[in-house]
């Protein structure tokens, strides 16, 4: 049951869905959720290769760092989204395209 290819396919599906969310959703929070999906797919790959073709646990360490980066990214990005909402009264990523502050 535990074949490496199954995990890789699941990870590819998650990556494609996350990419689709990033590209096509207009709500900034939905875009953030797509980014989380992409990071999770990368993590699945790291952990799967750690189990199936590595001799150390370095993949787990990298996965932990990815989770740390994802948490920091979510916090800062949501603060930015709240600021955009306060300034523009919308979080549609197409409406907040002005470069003037």
């Amino acid at each position: 049951m535990n074949h490496l290819v199954v995990y890789l396919i699941v990870s590819a599906i998650l990556f494609a869905l996350g990419l689709l969310a990033v590209v096509s959703r207009r709500n900034a929070i939905a875009v953030l959720m797509g980014v989380e999906l992409i990071l999770n797919s990368a993590n699945i790959n790291f952990v799967a290769f750690t189990k199936f073709s590595a001799t150390t646990l370095d993949g787990h360490i990298v996965a932990i760092f990815v989770i740390i980066a994802a948490a920091a990214e979510a916090a800062v990005a949501l603060a930015i989204v709240l600021n955009i909402y306060n300034n523009y009264k919308t979080i549609n990523v197409d409406d907040a395209a002005s470069l003037r502050g």
Partner: protein
């Protein structure tokens, strides 16, 4: 072994289907709650990969931290009276084609490549080994990650603060 097989594919189905709901749902709150099930399914896959510490970390940080943050974001950026928080999407056809193409490439590579696979060795004592690795081989990235978290904390607090006190401080 058949029962474990069933559970494994159940987790795979949970992960993939709820990720689909995250992407294609029109209601943003539904998408956030579907993301909860996606994270839960990924944690289950970690358990099948014998990464028990990572599964616990996934549940604690993603479900307990990131998801609550996203829910706060949804609640704060939409009016409470607006029950149906719907957000359309654009370029769905082109984006779908691109995503499908990338999935095809990734799946083709994953299937056709002959991986250096040992058939799955059994991993024991992940917490012990991860702790030793973090304090020896990965010590510098560990410290950098702590500085990154501090910077994210300060930056998020600075950005999300009400700009009302700017006049008083300057």
């Amino acid at each position: 072994m058949l029962f474990g097989n069933l559970i494994f594919y159940l987790f795979v189905a949970i992960t993939v289907l709820s990720a689909g709901v995250v992407v294609f749902s029109n209601k943003l709150t539904y998408a956030v709650f579907a993301l909860l099930f996606t994270f839960f399914g990924v944690a289950g896959l970690y358990v099948f990969l014998e990464a028990d510490f990572l599964a616990a970390v996934q549940l604690l940080i993603y479900v307990g931290g990131v998801l609550v943050l996203l829910l706060f974001g949804v609640m704060l950026t939409n009016k409470i009276t607006d029950v149906r928080i719907s957000q359309g999407s654009m370029n769905r056809v082109i984006g779908g084609l691109i995503a499908l193409g990338i999935f095809g490439i990734l799946a083709y590579v994953a299937v056709t490549t002959v991986w250096n696979s040992s058939g799955g060795r059994s991993i024991s004592e992940t917490v012990n080994t991860i702790g030793i690795l973090l304090m020896t081989k990965w010590l510098l990235p560990f410290e950098v990650a702590s500085v990154l978290l501090l910077a994210a904390l300060i930056g998020a607090a600075m950005l999300a603060r009400r700009p009302r006190s700017r006049r008083e401080s300057s």
